[in-house]
Symmetry: C2
Subunit: 243 residues, 2 copies
């Protein structure tokens, strides 16, 4: 399997539009910058069975899974339990996490605060400079907090340990409609199936083009070859510009 | 099953951050305004097997499924095929859609343009005032285009035919941390399981509170009763304000 990531946003507040979801967009952008393919992005409610099913789906599609939200001490924080269930592991208290919680909360550490020390059996903790709460990870699942500031900080620690890759991209802007260029795209896409070719129409005259073609591959030579084929196959004069 | 909707965003351009996804956020907002619960939101690539699996997952979780993207005449438009597969139906050409495509494109209608007339067998067309391209729907799946302007126009036609509901919501803003209030939330959430209670911490001092509690139900009386219980159970003086 090519290195790839799935993202799982957990939280009723997102599905009920109480907050505008930002972590999925941030994850998408950062993965792209690192050249790591995002295979799937899901948003589910704070319900164990929905989360377990989503984890299964994501793990079949991608090597790593980054979750956002549902870690904390309250009744609606069920991510750890769901990840443990999905991985067939027990929920245990990590001694190191217990020590961190006691150190952070001091005398005021309630019984509920100790829930923060719970994790799927065998989980690892990765420290984050400047934060008391480490990244919690188990079997290539990263359980990140939903608070955007914390999600961002933890994501960078995770990304440092995942591979990076190059992505080469060329865009063609056309003054022809999709139905006029579809047969040319068919031919090139069929001849070069490992090159990702996308076709995106716009109906807003202010954009100054009618269709944008994206041509993408890890190797520049493959992209160039596909672009040459497109230039030879697309209707004469239909290409406005290449970027 | 309570009336509910799932959303499925289809498109490599979203997962590769080539565009900032807007249809999922718009769908979330509009469903909330209509009081229709959004059960799940998924984003998958332009790949038939990934889309078929996502449709299965969404349809088990929600009564209606609204998809965005992948309808069009090019090689990367595979939504109709995937929906047909997921529903166990053949892909056919709808005679009415053939007529509409011919009318729209006139003499320049290519063989590829006629792909726009393809649909799962038994699909229905719902007309949209001012647009030539109708809403394509089959077995409670609505196949909307990904272009945001078209998605928005089609979504309104769909929403007009789906039920609406009331949502009553009260927010409590607290100056206590989650671990101090977790036992109170546990008790009220356990006593009133049909009331949706959410707990959202912030670590930004500028917000002026530490945790926001959301209390939600279709009936105002249920919300009021849960809020009263919370006010009686939460640590004395921890509630800054109620909205």
């Amino acid at each position: 399997m090519t290195p790839s990531v799935a993202g799982l946003i957990i939280g009723n507040e997102v599905l009920t539009a109480k907050v505008v979801e930002a972590n999925g967009a941030h994850l998408t952008k950062r993965l792209r910058e690192r050249g790591l393919p995002l295979r799937m992005l899901m948003t589910v409610p704070d319900e164990v069975d929905a989360i377990v099913e989503a984890i299964d789906v994501c793990r079949r599609r991608a090597q790593w899974l980054i979750t956002s939200g549902g870690v904390g001490p309250t009744h609606d924080d069920v991510t750890v339990r769901a990840v443990a269930l999905a991985l067939g592991r027990k929920v245990v208290r990590l001694p190191r996490m217990e020590a961190l919680v006691k150190e952070h909360y001091g005398e005021s550490a309630t019984a509920e605060a100790m829930r923060l020390a719970e994790a799927p059996q065998g989980a690892e903790l990765w420290d984050i400079p400047g934060h008391w709460y480490p990244v919690l990870t188990c079997e290539r699942v990263f359980m990140l907090p939903g608070v955007p500031m914390l999600f961002k900080a933890q994501l960078e620690i995770v990304l440092q340990r995942l591979p990076t890759a190059k992505v080469e991209l060329t865009n063609l802007y056309l003054n022809a409609g999709e139905s006029e260029i579809a047969s040319a795209l068919d031919m090139v896409a069929l001849a070069m199936p490992d090159v990702a070719i996308g076709s995106y129409p716009t109906f807003d005259p202010a954009d100054g083009y009618r269709v944008k073609i994206t041509v993408e591959h890890a190797e520049r030579a493959k992209v160039s070859s596909a672009v040459e084929r497109l230039e030879a196959t697309l209707p004469a004069g239909s290409i406005l510009r290449r970027e």
